[in-house]
Amino acid sequence: MASITSERKTAPSGTGPSKQAGHALEITRVTKRYGRNVVVDDLSFTVEPGRVTGFLGPNGAGKSTLMKILLDLASADKGKATIGGRRYRDLPDPARTVGVVLEPNAFHPGRSGRNHLRILAKGGGFPTERIDEMLWLVGLGDAADRRVGAYSLGMRQRLSLAGALLGDPPVLVLDEPGNGLDPQGIRDLRELLRARAANGNTIFVSSHLLSEVEHLADEVVVLNKGRLVASGSLAELQTEATFVRTPSCASLTELLEAAGADVQAQERHGLVVRGLPIDEIGDRAHNAGVVLHELSPHSGSLEDLFLDWTGDKHPDGSRSTAKEVVSP
C-alpha cells in the first residue's frame, strides 16, 4: 500500500465525499437478541463525519452484530440504525455510499483478486478502470490474477479494502481491517483512513488492536456485553481520570465509591479515580479529613481504559484480571 495515502487526491470521485454532505451514522436504542441471549442491548450513539471513530469491545461484545444491523444484514429487534438519516436499504445507491469490510475470508478461494473486484464493479456499476487503480493502491497489483486461496490473510484484508474503496464511498464501515496487515500496511491503512476523515468522510472502524486505535481514532465507542460502556473523544476519555496519592487509601476509597466514583488501587498508596471531577475529590477528602499527598489529572493508556471499561466487577467489588476479561 505504498501509495495508499495519495488515493484521495488521485481517485476519480464521481460521487465522492467532497461532493456530498457528510453522512452521520446514528444508532438509536438498538436491541438484538438471539434466542434468550441479548447481543446488543438498548444501544445508542452517533458516529460523526469528518472523524475516525473506533469501535471497541471484547470478543462477543456485539460489535459485528451492530455493524450488520447498520448494514441491514441483520434486523434489530428494537430501535433503528441509519446512515445519513436513512436505513441502509433506503439509500439511493448504497454501494457508492458505504464501503464495507466485514468478513476477512469472504472470498471464493478459486477466484482471482481481479475477478473478485470485477464482480463488485459489475454489481455496483463502478467504472472498470477503478479495479486496477484499487489493486495497485492496496499493493496487490502484481498478485491480481492469482487465486485468492493463495493469498495470505494480510493480502485478503488488502483485497477487502480495495473492494470497500471501489465505489469511492463517503462512508467506510470496517470490521477489524488491520487484521493480518504488516506494520507498513497498518501505517498505510491509518494514513488512508485519516486522510479520508479529513476529507469529510465518515470512518467507523472496529478493532481489537488498541494501540492501533489509539493512533488512529478521534472518537471511540466501547461496548461490553452488548451495552455501551464509554463513548466520546478519545483525548477527553483518556484524561478524565484523577490520580490520588494518600496514606489513607482504604478510607478514601470507601468515601469516593460511596459518592459513585470508580476507584482503582495503584502501587505506592495511589488511587485512580473515575466518575468524579478532580475538584470534588479534593473537597470530599478535605471535608473527611483525609490527607492527600498528590491530586493530579491521570492520563491512562487506551489499554488501561479499555480493561477498566470492560472489566467485570466481582461481587466483592474488585475487578477481574485482564486475562479473564479480554479473550485473545
Partner: protein, 248 residues
Amino acid sequence: MTWLRLVNAEMHKLTTTKLPWAFLVVLVAISAITATAVIFGTDMDGSKAFISTAADQKSLVAFAANALMGAGLFGALAVAREYGHGTVVPSFLTEPRRHRAVLAQFAAVMIAGGLLGLMGSALTIAGVALSLPTTEYGFMVSAGGVAQVIAASGFAAAAGALIGASIGALIRNTGGSVAAAVVVLIVAPPMIVQLANGAASWVPDTLTKVASGVANDVALAPALAALAAWAIVPAVIGLFVVQRRDVV
C-alpha cells in the same frame, strides 16, 4: 437496468469458478458413455433393438431428466457455496432489497443451468449420432424431434437449477444442500408415487419425458407448467426466507 447489472455480476461469479467447467466435463463423460453403449451395448437377446427405431433413439437421447437432476445439483452447489464462502454478503450490500439480489442470483443460475442442459443434450445427441454408423442403424430422429429433445433439456435444466438454487438459499450449507437436492429430485418423487399413484404423471421424471416427446401421460403445456411449478414453489419459499433471515 440495475437488476440486469446484478444478473451480470452473478453470471461473472459463476464463470470465474471451476464449477460450470466441472459439470461440463461430466456432460462430456455422459455423452461418451452413451456413445459407448450404442457401439458396444446390446439388448438381453444380443440384438440392438434399443436403437432400432426413431422412438427408441429419441428415448435414448432424451436428456431432460438427467438435465433436471444435474442442474439441480449445480444450482444447490452454486448458491450454497455463496453462503459458505460469505460471497453473498457483497451481493446483499450492493442490493439490500434482498429479493432483487436473490432473483438475480436465481436468474444467473437458471441461465447457466439451462445452458449446461442444452449442451448436455447436444453432446448426447452428437455422441449417439456419431456412434450409430458403427452399427447397422442410422440416426432416425427427425429434426423436429431433435429440437424438442434439446429444448426440453434446456427447460428442465433451468427448472432443476432453480430448484437447486432455492434449496441452496434455504439450507446454505453445501453438503446439506446437495443432500436435500438429491432427496427432492431423486428420492422423494418415487416415494410420492408409491403413496399416491395418481401423482405418477406429475413427478419430474414423467414430466421431462413428456416435454421431450417420449411419453404422453399428460399434454405438453400442462407438463411444462407442472415442471415450472416444481421450480417456482421452492423459489418463492427461498425468496421469502432469505428476505426475513439475518445474513450471518
